[in-house]
Amino acid sequence: MGSTEVTLCGVRLDNPVIPASGTFGFGYEFAELYNINCLGSISFKGTTIEPRFGNPTPRIAECEAGMLNSVGLQNPGAEKVLTEELPRLKKVFKKPLMANVSGFSVKDYTAAVEILDREDAIGWFEINISCPNVHGGGLAFGTSCENAAAVTAAVKKVTKKPVLIKLSPNVTDITEIAKACEAAGADGLSLINTLLGMRIDLKTKKPVLANKAGGFSGPAIKPVAVRMVYQVYEAVKIPIVGMGGISTAEDVIEMMLAGAAAVEVGAANLVEPFACKNIIEDLPRVMQKYGINNLKDIIGGAHNG
C-alpha cells in the first residue's frame, strides 16, 4: 500500500487531508461521528481578536454544485478559543492544529496570533486575508500586494510557528499576491478562499443572502482553484495548501498534481459529514489505480515535461 504521508512547512502529516476553516467548527460535531484523528490536521474556525456574531441571516444559499455563505467570521474571540474551544478540541484530536486567524487591521491579526501562539498544539497559523464576507475586512488585505505583505511580515514577527497566508481568488493576478507574501516571509500559502457570488430569489426578487453577496464554494469552483494552484506553484517556492471544491480522493490527487503539498476539504464536510474520512480511506485505492506509490511524489506533477 502506498504512502499518503506529506510534510507541510517541516511538519509531518499522515495524509494531506485537512478540513477547511469554517466547515468543521472546532471539530466536536465530527468527533461524535468518527475518530477525527484520521485527519491530516484541522484548520479550525476562523478566529478574530474580538468575539463576533457575524452577518445577519439568511447567510446560506444553494447553487449548482455548490453553495454561498455569508457567515462573516462568527467566533467567540481568540481568548475564548484558547481557553475554552482548544482544550475541548485537544481531547478528541491529538495532532498539530492549523489556527485560522482573521482581522480588520494588522494589529487585529498580530493580537489574535499572539494569544493563540501560547497553544503548543498549534502547528501552523493560516492567516486569512481573503474573507469575502466582512466589509472593510480581510479581503482588503487579500487584494493588495502591499497589505498582504504587511500582514505577513507583522504576523511573522509575533510567532515562531510556520505562517501560511490564505489567498483570495477574487483578484486579477493571484501570483502577484502570492509572491508578495513569499517575499514578506510567508512559510506557505493556502488557496483558494471562496469566490464572491450571489443568488437572487425569484419569489422575493431580492438576493437570497441578507448580506446580498457571499462566498461561493463547492465542486463548482474546483477548476478555478486548480488553475490558481497551478499558477501559484510556478510563481513561488513555498508550499501550497490547495482547496476549492475538493470532495473525492481523485480531487485530492488533481489538486496535488497542480502543486498542492496538502489540501483542505471545505463545503463537502457540510453535505457529507464523513467526507474527509471517506476521502482518506479511499486515497490508497485511487493512488493504486493511477500508479501512485508515494503521494508526496506527485506534488506539482502536472508541471513536468
Partner: protein, 247 residues
Amino acid sequence: MKQEIFKITSNENIAPSVYKMVLAGDTSDITAPGQFVNIKLEGFYLRRPISICDYDGDSLTLIYKTVGGGTENLSLKKSGDELDLLISLGNGFDTRGSGEKPLIIGGGVGIPPLYALCKKLISEGKKPAVILGFNTRTEIFYENEFKNLGCEVFVTTADGSHGIKGFVTAAMDKTEYSYIYSCGPLPMFKAVNANAETSGQFSFEERMGCGFGACMGCSLMTKNGAKRVCKDGPVFEREEIEWEALK
C-alpha cells in the same frame, strides 16, 4: 446524529403542496420530538432539513411542503426509493417543564413536529390542548390525527372557512394552559409571544448549510449569546429569545 439510509414506505399529497412521507429505517438515534432530519437529494448540493412529525422504533413520518426544486424532487419519490438521511438533528422539545396542561400552537407546515410532541406529552400523563392555524379550509391537515390522540383541538383559519376565524391567537383564550409549545412562521411567534401567559418553547426555522452545527450558517442571537438553530435549537425557550430583534 447518525447517517442512515431509509426506505420510503409511502409519500402522499395530504393538502395543497403538502406531502406526508413515511420511511422505514433505524430511528434509535432520536432523543426528542422536534428534532429533524437532513435529506440528501440527487442533483441538489445542500441537504434538505425536514422536521420529524412522528416516529417509532423503525419508522419515521415527515410532513413537508413543496417550496422549491428540492422539496418538489422529494415529492416525486416513490415507495421503495431510498434516501440518505442525517437523522435526529437538533435539540427537540423538552417536556420536563410543561406542567399538566401544556398548549401546543402550530401554524401551517410548522405543525408536523408538534404531533410527536403531543404524543409524548400524553404518554407522560399530561393533557395538552392544541391550536392549529391555517389560512383556509382546504389547507388543513392533521386535525383528525391530533383529535384521535384524545386532545382538545382548536382549528383557526385566517378566512374563517373552518373553525375559529382568525390567527392562532384567536384561540389562545379558549383554554387554560400551563406552558406553550409552538412552531410556525415568525409573525405567528410574535403574536403568540405577545399573548402568552406562561413560559414556553418555540421551534425556529432558518436556512441551513450543514444542519449539524459545523458551518454557523443558521445562527440566532439569543439572550444567552449566539446559538445555532440546527444544533443548539431549533427549539428555544421563550425567555432566551431576543423578541425585539426577530425579523
